[in-house]
């Protein structure tokens, strides 16, 4: 009784969807969430439906499987014009002919509406229990064997203990901000972290939330070149989300779908009043000839209002995310990352294939081993516990956000829902 009542209620909730947007699909997917029947989940932990839209690269498939397993039960996957082979098992496919850019606008809109309906239908089936939850795709096992000695694996000699799951203790390395050398934390973020451009995979070294090193492992997926104004509005919406203004961001997205001058003017005024431009530190994310983040936000507001985009000179050769991001705090870095148009971003995020051993956490460890007890300071032992990003063996692709190992464990410990 109670269970069926709960199920009935749950069916009324908007369908929580985690999105992995592929090539040319980001903007279309974002517009799906305009009518409030669907909500976009910030993390796969909050979602029930995994929407994979558009073409994916081969190397992304493993991450998609990982993300799938990170979602709690009940869960279901929908492949929308996605080519992922058999990576996602028997997941339902939704193919509405070819890409929208080949069709006229009305056709595309009808197609999007059909996807929306299908997603809602999936959620109804899932909530009512008609549709079984999808099982794990990957084995639930630790990526590295437990290597410690003794009952708790502390083994090892002296204070350092052993290396449980192949993860040694974190070591200190130099800090960019104030020189207080604490433990770095190296992890891969992406390729489908919701705050990242889809497809971008970064390996970053963090101290606290300051980025010390950033290396592009996979470039962002190419996006459809669309008109300036809707693209600018959607980019504006992403920035507003990051600035803690989800309602205004939704308004910008609505405006991108259906533009009329009066709403745009009002939206611009509300955004100015919210202090969004003032909130951004002046000079943040400044590129030669491309101004800083604050200016870019103002430009976006202007483009959204109908004026033509300001022309900017070519990017300097040296400009790259690996030099732009270090030194920024996490939230500033996310703002910077989302402030570029697709063309600029793809130039900034080119994968650089150079023999680069330095970014491996291990080298830093070496530098500090001479300290009394071997550096050993673990600013977040919590870090090395789930991360395993310190050693060469520990580099695992991060799913969307790096709790990647956890999915391999949740079933064993808590899969009783």
């Amino acid at each position: 009784m109670a269970v069926s009542a709960l199920r009935k209620w749950a069916g009324e909730a908007p369908a929580p969807i985690f999105v992995a947007a592929g090539e040319e699909m980001r903007d279309r997917v974002e517009l799906l969430f305009n009518d409030g029947r669907l909500v976009r989940a910030a993390s796969p932990r909050h979602a029930a439906i995994f929407l994979i839209a558009g073409r994916m690269r081969l190397e992304d498939r493993e991450d998609l499987r990982r993300l799938h397993d990170q979602m709690p039960h009940p869960r279901v996957t929908l492949l929308w014009e996605a080519e992922v082979g058999e990576a996602l098992g028997e997941a339902e496919r939704f193919t509405g002919s070819t890409l929208a850019s080949d069709k006229d606008a009305g056709e595309a809109r009808r197609l999007d509406e059909a996807v929306r309906d299908r997603l809602e239908g999936l959620w109804q089936e899932l909530a009512s229990g008609e549709r079984p939850s999808e099982p794990d795709l990957l084995h639930d096992e630790p990526p590295n064997p437990w290597e410690g000695i003794g009952p708790h694996g502390q083994g090892g000699k002296g204070m350092m203990g052993g290396t449980p799951y192949g993860r040694p203790m974190a070591m200190t390395s130099d800090d960019l901000r104030d020189g207080l050398a604490l433990d770095p934390y190296t992890a891969r973020f992406g390729p489908f972290l919701p705050v990242f451009p889809p497809g971008l995979l970064l390996e970053m070294t963090l101290q606290g939330d300051v980025i010390q090193l950033a290396k592009v492992l996979r470039a962002p997926l190419r996006q459809a070149a669309s008109d300036h104004a809707p693209e600018a509005l959607l980019r504006l919406a992403r920035l507003l989300d990051l600035l803690g203004l989800p309602a205004l961001s939704q308004r910008a997205r609505l405006a991108a779908g259906d533009r009329s001058s009066s709403t745009l003017e009002k939206l611009g005024r509300t955004i100015r009043w919210s202090g969004a431009t003032l909130a951004i530190p002046p000079g943040l994310g400044a590129l030669e000839g491309h101004a800083d983040l604050r200016t870019r936000l103002n430009d976006l507001l202007a483009i959204a209002g109908g004026s033509s985009p300001a022309t900017r000179p070519e990017l300097p050769e040296s400009a790259h995310l690996s030099s732009l991001l270090p030194g920024l705090e996490w939230s500033e870095a996310m703002l910077v990352l989302n402030s570029f148009d697709d063309k600029t971003l793809s130039m900034l995020a080119m994968v650089m294939n150079e023999p680069d051993e330095e970014s491996d956490g291990h080298d830093h460890d070496g530098d500090h081993m001479h300290h009394d007890h071997g550096g050993h300071h673990d600013h977040g032992g919590s870090h090395n516990d789930h991360g395993g990003h310190q050693g060469e063996g520990g580099h695992e692709d991060q799913g969307d956000h790096s709790s990647h190992q956890s999915h391999e464990h949740h079933n064993r410990h808590g899969g009783h829902a």
Partner: protein
């Protein structure tokens, strides 16, 4: 009397909670210009979360992870318990009510930190310590502001503070104090411009690895804290249960509702400043401002009190 107050507390909490859930659902939709969602939506959302599998990360601090939402909720209730709902209607009459509330604020920071830390994952941890960095100085500010509210009453108890506002409400004495206190309200109920623990740029921050019932518990605790902080604001600055004609409890309810709506709206209308910049603003501008407010109230009482 205390028993009646305890019953009233339950009533107030449930009414306030329902109102908070509704406001939290409706106001963003209104601001975004979307179709208005139905009042059933929060309940549906809760039903969904109840049926979702609770996720366990690798090697979390399971005890603290479980306890953090409970602690957060308990603090909201304790905060409400020292507030008078009407003349003499207090669940726990305390002559040091302000200090009790201050402890609740401080322990809230502990609860949020515990929640983010114990998940044993990077994004929740970043959310947790970022929140501590912002909320600790914000709490200091709120204490100065509250002392300013206690000065005219010559007491640390909330009942005396309300009674001292019979002549003039504290909001007239220190208007900036009210605004500073509302900022604290946003900070400890984790919303909008002061939500440094669960923001979008961290994929949900402390909640990024939480699913199912635990996430529901956290959301409930957040809303309860919103009710609690609105009630404290109404008591300390808007004269609490004082008001003509209507009974005290109704006035109190109305004022709390007003503050609550203001908080929810502000949470959706103001942009979040990146944490490092916010730290600068808090320590160099807001904290000195709260000193000045305190000084001004002290001088006023000394000269004309």
């Amino acid at each position: 009397m205390e028993l009646i107050a305890a019953l009233l507390l339950l009533l107030f909490l449930s009414v306030g909670f329902a109102g908070a859930a509704l406001a939290d659902g409706m106001l963003p939709a209104l601001i975004s210009g979307q179709a208005r969602p139905s009042w059933r939506r929060p309940i549906a959302e809760a039903a969904r979360l109840l049926q979702t599998q609770p996720i366990r990360t690798e090697a979390p601090d399971a005890l603290l992870w479980f306890l953090a939402p409970a602690l957060y909720l308990a603090l909201a209730i304790i905060g409400l318990a020292v507030i008078p709902f009407g003349p003499g209607l207090v669940t726990i009459p305390s002559e040091v009510g302000i200090v009790v509330w201050g402890s609740c604020e401080a322990l809230t920071i502990v609860a949020v930190f515990m929640f983010g830390w114990s998940a044993n994952a990077p994004l929740p941890l970043i959310g947790a310590y970022r929140y501590v960095a912002i909320a600790l100085p914000a709490m200091l500010i709120s204490m100065f502001v509250l002392i300013g509210a206690a000065l005219p009453a010559e007491s640390l108890g909330f009942t005396e503070i309300v009674e001292a506002q019979r002549t003039v409400w504290n909001v007239v004495r220190q208007p900036a104090g009210l605004i500073l206190f509302l900022m604290l309200g946003l900070a400890i109920s984790l919303r909008g411009p002061f939500d440094y623990a669960d923001p979008a740029d961290l994929a949900g921050g402390t909640t990024a690895d939480v699913s199912g019932p635990a996430l529901l518990a956290w959301k409930i605790a957040r809303l309860a804290m919103l009710v609690s902080v609105s009630a404290v604001t109404a008591t300390a600055f808007l004269g609490g249960y004082l008001g003509p004609i209507l009974p005290g409890f109704v006035w109190f309810l109305l004022k709390t509702a007003l503050v609550l709506v203001v908080l929810v709206a502000a949470g959706n209308l103001f942009a979040r400043v990146p944490p490092a910049r916010m730290m600068g603003v808090i320590w160099t501008m807001l904290l000195p401002l709260s000193f000045l407010m305190l000084l001004a109230v002290g001088l006023e009482l000394l000269l004309w009190g």
